[in-house]
């Protein structure tokens, strides 16, 4: 663990900010995460939202004590970083990227990479309102993008999941990447299965060590660790998980009920 100075900050909304560091490791892939340490506060996992020209970026939404402290950091502050950890998305042609809420974050770096490789892909992003969808310009510029918001403030009104089926059929897409709330992921997997498509999904559990030893992030079924064999799971891996949609383990390791 080492601390690094924040070199820049970008405000997406009052609650969502991107924080920039110089790139601290040579190989960082979309879907991987860093453990971010706020000295004196805590350490939590955050997806990499971009790596570009020697600069890396994480994007944070203030939802609780830690993320509130994290969005309050200033340029020049020293922040601890350990990583990159975990598995990453692999590259496929004709993919649909389905992101919900802060699940949009890892898809941003994935989209940049897919575009760099010259792959065709499309994007479907949903959130509660317009303000909760960062990187709108990048996404729209890089690929055909559909926005869905619960309040209709951007794009269609409703839930992303309502549009997956249609998107796949319309555009002859053959692979799905998805990240976001678990309820959404369950629907994505169902749709993919119905359409006979392969997919990679990224999903979250409470994490502590990030390096596969504390056991905190293990999911039931095959007993895989989401910090090590995840957070990005292939279809095969995802199908070994038996705890979809049930309450997660908290800091004690006990399931919330």
């Amino acid at each position: 663990m080492k601390t690094f100075p924040v070199i820049d900050i970008k405000h997406h909304s009052a609650e969502i900010k991107s924080i920039y560091f110089k790139q601290i490791e040579p190989d960082i892939y979309p879907g991987q995460f860093f453990n971010v340490w706020l000295p004196g506060v805590d350490e939590k996992p955050f997806s990499i939202s971009d790596v570009f020209q020697g600069i890396m970026e994480i994007t944070v939404k203030a939802v609780g004590p830690f993320t509130r402290a994290l969005v309050a950091v200033e340029r020049g502050d020293f922040i601890g970083l350990r990583g990159p950890f975990g598995t990453h998305f692999t590259f496929h042609h004709h993919a649909l990227l389905v992101g919900g809420g802060m699940g949009i974050v890892p898809l941003r770096y994935l989209a940049r990479m897919l575009r760099q490789q010259g792959f065709h892909f499309e994007i479907l992003l949903g959130a509660r309102c317009e303000k909760e969808i960062p990187f709108q310009n990048d996404f729209s510029e890089w690929a055909p993008t559909t926005f869905v918001t619960e309040d209709g403030s951007l794009g269609y009104q409703g839930q992303v999941t309502e549009y997956i089926h249609e998107k796949i059929r319309e555009s002859k897409l053959s692979f799905i990447y998805s990240a976001g709330p678990e309820a959404m992921l369950i629907r994505v997997m169902e749709e993919a299965k119905k359409a006979g498509l392969n997919y990679e999904i990224s999903f979250e559990r409470y994490m502590k060590c990030g390096i596969g030893i504390c056991g905190q992030c293990v999911v039931n079924g095959s007993g895989i660790r989401l910090c090590k064999e995840g957070p990005v799971l292939s279809r095969n891996m995802a199908e070994t998980v038996t705890e979809w949609g049930i309450p997660h383990r908290d800091a004690t390791g006990k399931r919330k009920v």
Binding site: T3, N35, D42, E43, G80, C214, N220, S222, D250, K254
Partner: protein
Amino acid sequence: MSDLLETLFLSKIYQSPLVLASGVLGLTADSMRRVLEAGAGAVTTKSFGLEPRKGHACPVILPYHSGLLNAVGLSNPGVDEMVKEIKKLHQESKGGIFASVFGKTPEDFGEVTKKACEATPDLIEVNVSCPNVASEFGAPFGADEFSVANITRIVKKAAGDVPISIKLTIHCPSIEKMARVCEENGADALTAINTVGPGMLIDTGVMKPILANKVGGVSGPAIFPLALKAVWEICANSSLPIIATGGVRTADEALQMIMAGATMVSIGSGIYYKDIEIFTHINQDLTAWMEARHIHSLETIRGAALE
């Protein structure tokens, strides 16, 4: 797996002398089953107490160049949850299951043991020596012969037919004397060693200790010689079977532990360095070593370095 590695420990035969150490991947049946499938003869659960505990804020685990620091702070889901996981694991696997227990008071140790035994683990491992909770519970029990004797008697009584092992720390006036104290008070086995220190690391950017708990126990490669020496010293002075723990990552290191007198060899931090397959690989390398030397049982080399 070849049966060269079959190991008799407290009247039960294990497929391998290798054990998953407490605190690493020991929270759920599914993750422990994965470790058994990778080749461990037995797994030890994360230490649990009567009530769920959140443990310390993060970072709780910190790799450094020679090992790991941890101050997990005995976070655990509590005995009721763990009993369910142990029962589930029993149904799904034939491998050994060691339940690691701790308590805030000697009486707690007894109560949690009694409850844990409902799941009929193969062993109750008694964590008297965790350095991470010292500030809350006072100095670790493991440093004090009187406390250890007392806890040993209480747990032994509570465990009924289930054998018990006391997990020792090097941070006591004399580990060989502590081993004798455990033996005299009814321990069936000993586990040595728990983490060393604690130690500390400071970030020079923010000029603060990195672990939220400031200090954490040292494990992994750094402590291997300290663990080996402790095992060797205990084996020279006690007839109890030993679960050797501390810094093991290779078959050669596992053999050193066995030559120092250990019966079982447990691995925690090794998973950070070589992942879960460490059990598969050490089993293979041990088997190859034995075959090359025409050794048919680890029994023949156990304690060889004691003279």
